[in-house]
């Protein structure tokens, strides 16, 4: 029975229990929940299913497949690592939000039906939005609002698709879609694509991640986009359009990473680029490509979290995150620098690091399916990855010109968490079979071929040489680069005029009118007779002595009526 327990509930149980514990044990207690979840995921046999009756539906709240298992393992593992990184954080709100968020990702990962999936999806959106707000600056407040609104929009697309799908097929179960089979499929893919940060639906990511809390951004870098990649791989495998979109994404992120000045925003743009590989893998859709997508998501979560942790240490210890304000930190932060560089070597696909063993699967899968142009463009994106994450960011943060900034000492737990992530980056790079065994499909793939090594060495060496020659032109520049969020941020004044100022005016007018009506009526009833005669507001109050008519007339009238009625009765 214990074997059929959904891992999400461990996280959500943690979110309930954590605030009940003494405040100083909470950060440590936090670690217990992802650790328990990891143990549970590893022990769940493939094919385990748990169904629960809800309303008229039979929910499949737990469905363990080879694909969901590999995502479940990494989501739990990164929960532990990010938890270690956040051991010094005392805000319970952030800890609870992180547990809800991680639970949401696991809920999506192990969902067998649309309703369970949607529940996890929305919990993730709310909890991660809180992690943006928790930074507590005015900028992060505004970014958090935008984050909520965009995800609300994405969630609505998804829900609309789910509603049509459930009504038209009568089934709430997740099953793969044929290419373009229905309007429901297009709505669902649009909702999911928003969470994978597929341009033009990506701006929320680069708008919010660098404004989130230092520790929150580590969770965010791991969970939202990758859980969406999982759903894409599950439902939309082999959709051609995803190959083209994925390659476009991989390059889009690279271009904007050149322009980014904030180090965490640069890394955020590189998430888009990296997720592009995974989306392309889903688009190719062969078993090798799906393996590549799963493996790359797994590797990516580890090294991207490591990179975000490194940038987080810089922000924590210096209070600065812009390349234009940083430089020359190496002599103060050797260990942080080298741990960061392990992440950078991994993402850039250096042999013996985990990016090499996963990215190459996707590129090989594209080659095997004869998408030669895609192969070249993905290599170009690789060059860009090394250029920014591996060269531009570390060079202008830790080397370059000396900014004179002296960083404070980083908490030991932050460095320890980086070391753990770095360990896994190297472990899977050196022993790729540890990861390959967990992949959804059996494959006979060898990453360390002479051809792959030649390719990696030449690409990386000459990217470095070109960078070294042009490094000065890659220094940070104090500008913001407009992105598609411009379309909903720039019309702010118009939107405010229509939705806030305009609506307020109408309400104000109604309110003024509402208060005037009783005022006028009370004036009218001070002297209704005069009002009825003149149809103007009375000039003075009713005065019985002056205004009441002589009593004789009405008396005579009454008498007359009585007489008439009497006659009538007597006569007839």
């Amino acid at each position: 029975m214990i074997a059929e327990f959904p891992p999400v509930l461990i996280f959500w149980l943690g979110a309930v229990l954590l605030p009940l514990l003494p405040k100083n044990v909470r950060p440590w207690a936090f670690l217990a929940f992802p650790a328990a979840s990891l143990a549970l995921v590893l022990s769940l046999p493939i094919g385990t299913t748990l169904t629960v009756e809800f309303l008229r539906f039979e929910l499949h709240v737990l469905e363990v497949t080879q694909l969901s298992r590999v995502f479940g393992i990494i989501f739990s593992l990164i929960g532990i690592i990010a938890g270690i990184y956040a051991l010094h954080v005392k805000q319970t709100g952030q800890q609870v939000a992180a547990l809800l968020y991680g639970g949401g990702a696991l809920c999506v990962t192990f969902a067998g039906d649309y309703l369970t999936l949607f529940a996890g999806w929305e919990v993730m959106a709310v909890a991660s939005g809180y992690l943006v707000w928790a930074r507590g600056t005015g900028e992060s407040y505004a970014a958090g609002i935008r984050y909520f609104l965009v995800h609300l929009f994405g969630g609505s697309l998804l829900l609309a698709g789910i509603a049509i799908q459930v009504v038209s097929t009568g089934s709430i179960l997740l099953r793969p879609f044929e290419y373009g089979e229905s309007i429901a499929a297009w709505l669902i893919i649009a909702g999911v694509a928003l969470n994978t940060a597929l341009p033009p639906l990506h701006a929320w990511l680069a708008d919010s991640y660098h404004r989130a809390t230092i520790t929150g951004a580590v969770f965010m870098s791991a969970l939202t986009t990758k859980s969406a990649v999982y759903v894409l791989a599950l439902l939309f495998s082999g959709w051609d359009i995803l190959l083209y979109m994925g390659v476009m994404m991989a390059l889009y992120g690279v271009v904007y990473a050149v322009l980014a000045n904030d180090i965490r925003q640069l890394l955020a743009y590189h998430i888009i680029s990296q997720v592009g590989y995974m989306v392309a893998g889903v688009g190719i859709g062969t078993t090798l490509a799906i393996n590549g997508t799963a493996a790359h998501a797994f590797s990516h979560i580890l090294y991207k979290a490591l990179l975000f942790m490194g940038a987080g240490v810089v922000l924590y210890t210096t209070g600065k995150s812009k390349l234009t304000e940083l430089g020359g930190l190496y002599k103060h932060q050797r260990l942080t620098y080298w741990l960061y560089m392990i992440g950078a070597f991994s993402i850039s696909g250096f042999p013996l690091f985990n990016g090499f063993i996963s990215k190459s699967i996707i590129v090989s899968a594209a080659g095997k399916s004869d998408y030669s142009v895609a192969v070249l463009l993905l290599m170009l994106a690789s060059i860009g990855t090394f250029l920014h994450t591996g060269l531009k960011l570390p060079y202008w943060t830790w080397h370059g010109r000396d900014s004179g900034v002296v960083p404070a000492k980083a908490p030991k737990n932050m460095i320890a968490a980086m070391a753990v992530a770095a360990f896994f980056c190297v472990l899977f790079g050196v022993y790729p079979d540890l990861l390959y065994r967990q992949l959804p499909h059996a494959m006979n793939y060898q990453p360390y071929t002479l051809h792959h090594l030649v390719e990696a060495v030449q690409l990386l060496a000459f990217t470095f040489i070109a960078f070294w020659i042009y490094r000065s032109s890659l220094a940070g520049e104090p500008y913001v680069a407009l992105d598609t969020d411009w379309f909903y941020r720039a019309p702010r004044d118009v939107a405010r005029a229509v939705f806030v100022t305009g609506v307020n005016r109408v309400f104000d007018a109604c309110e003024t009118l509402a208060f005037r009506i009783p005022g006028v009526l009370s004036r009218v009833f001070t002297h209704p007779a005069q009002f009825l005669r003149t149809m103007r507001l009375p000039t003075r109050d009713f005065d019985p002595d002056a205004d009441r008519g002589p009593l004789a007339d009405p008396l005579a009238l009454t008498l007359l009526v009585i007489v008439l009625v009497a006659i009538w009765n007597l006569w007839w």
Binding site: V254, V255, Y256, V258, L259, G367, S372, V375, L376, M379, L380, I383, G384, L387, T449, L450, H451, L453, V454, E455, V457, Q458, L459, L460, A461, F462, T463, F464, I465, A466, F467, W468, Y470, S473, L474, E477, P478, Y479, V480, A481, L482, D483, R489, A490, R492
Partner: protein, 68 residues
């Protein structure tokens, strides 16, 4: 960058050229010696130049652009 680093890079490049000659060819472009080195260098230049042009001509704004 000290001289030793450049020497290591040069040695790696030479080794990779030899390796390319020996390795099985997967793609049409594998017959061009040093193809990936050329791609790496040119690609890097293209990324820098195109992105910077794109930034300067189209999307760069002052940092307080959205706050005004």
């Amino acid at each position: 960058m000290r001289r030793i680093h450049w020497i290591i890079l040069a040695v790696l490049t030479v080794l990779s050229l030899v390796g390319q000659y020996l390795a099985k060819h997967y793609y049409a472009w594998d017959v061009i010696p040093g193809f990936y080195a050329i791609l790496g260098f040119i690609g890097c230049l293209v990324i820098i130049k195109v992105s910077k042009w794109f930034g300067k001509k189209i999307v760069f704004r002052d940092e307080d652009y959205y706050d005004r």
